[in-house]
Amino acid sequence: MARLTRRLNKWCRAGLIDEQQVVAIEKFEAGQPSWLLRGLLGLAVTSIGIGVIALVASHWENIPDVIILGLTFVLLAAIALGAWAMKMRNNCTGAELFIFAFLIACLAAIGLISQTFNLSGRLDHALLFWGLIVAPITVMAQFRLVPALWLWVMLVVGLVIPIVEWVDQLGWLDQRTVIGLVGILPITTAIGLVALNKLKRFDNFEWAFRVITVFAWFSAIVIFDISLSWEAANPTNKDELSGASLMVSFGTLLSLFVFALAWFWEIFPRARLILIGAQLGIYLCFLALACLTNGVPYLGSVFIILLFGFCATDMARAGRRGAAQFLLVLIGIRMLTFYIDAFGGLAITAVGLICVGVLILLTTLVWYRKRHNVMSWLEGVDK
């Protein structure tokens, strides 16, 4: 709030807005639910929820099963009533907290029922069951936390674990297959992202898909880079590539599918889709090299520079300058590590660093002189 006030005062002094507008904006923002308050309340509910689960786990032998189960259902009904009452009063924060508590109570109830009837199911199966029964109420949550947590848990227990088990059953689970599996994750989540973008509903789920896709994309790139560099120094047995080949083929098919969806549904303008297609192509080559080869020295850095370069261009075109600058910084850092890695010794590293410095300086000068032309092209704005 203080930061906003400082900015508003700055804009007011510059004559962009008047004092009345400053007061109106401040009043509007003060009426918005506080993220800090929501966070603290969420923390409190989480703590209470974990406490309930711990109490359940402590196994009250002196209380008959019927009473324990009955109390559990009374608790569930009470929390559900609380959520409904808050919803009727249009108290979004209250309703959201009750929904969150309800989800935790449902999970605790599954644990309690398993304990009462001595069910030996696995945790991921219990979470999958929980995810299915609470899916309708999760869709109705208004804030991002509940849908995001639900979606991320479901992706792990409903997608990652079954795929790993399936590959394991085939006897193909090895280091290379795992790299491939990590590589296809962002492509898989991108399908969900594109589908939700088309539906233009479930904004919270779309946000959750975007976050997990970006996170998985960065994680995969880091793993590919490490794999290419590490395997070049420590080559592993290349004989068994069944799992890795399957992952690369599957990744390629999924990429084609998601790109076709985005193209036919016209999710983005054509120019942006071409840039995204180029990124997908580079990403798939990177994935294939990381999975199927024993590493190629320095190739990881080339791929990262190419991939992040295209991505920064894409971000700039989409008007997300912050993201574009962040990616450029990452490219700079990777270039530095590349020089240090390539030249090895201190004296030669110093020469490499000077070269990088000069290169960055010259690029910046050229950029500064031509920035209007470049930005006009990138952002699609007339000069």
Partner: protein, 166 residues
Amino acid sequence: MSGKYRFVAALIFPILCLAGFVLWNVWVATQGQKLTLPIRGFDPRDLLAGHYLAYRIEFGFEALCTGSKNQHEKKTYICFAPKKILGARPKAAECRKYLKGVCKNGRFETGLDRFYIPQKHARKLEQAVVNKRGEVILSLDGIGGAAITDLLIDGLSWEKWVSVKD
């Protein structure tokens, strides 16, 4: 359906599912065919995992999950009357008292290898199971599943056995 009713339905749905889950387990535990089988601890150093006792049921089939074909997961059915091992679900006329499981790494896994106990009695019960004095009562649901209804030590329900011992 208006938003208000959808919200109420979304809250009631999980409660109904959980109630159904409880009722199904109650039905299996009370109505199923009962079967008492001996158990043994497969890791005598530590049978306890949190608040439950982990064990293996001795089904009494010598050729169960043996051979190289059973190294990967394979669905298997064991019929208790008449005693036989089947690769597919038996028909009603063929066998009424059967249990479904998976042969994995030479073991028949049914998901019935856990019994929740209070922590204060854990050591005594663990010792009794290690000494091969334990049995479990299974209640078969008739479609290959089962529920564990009790843990017996020396033929007594564990609660009675603990109170006698104390």
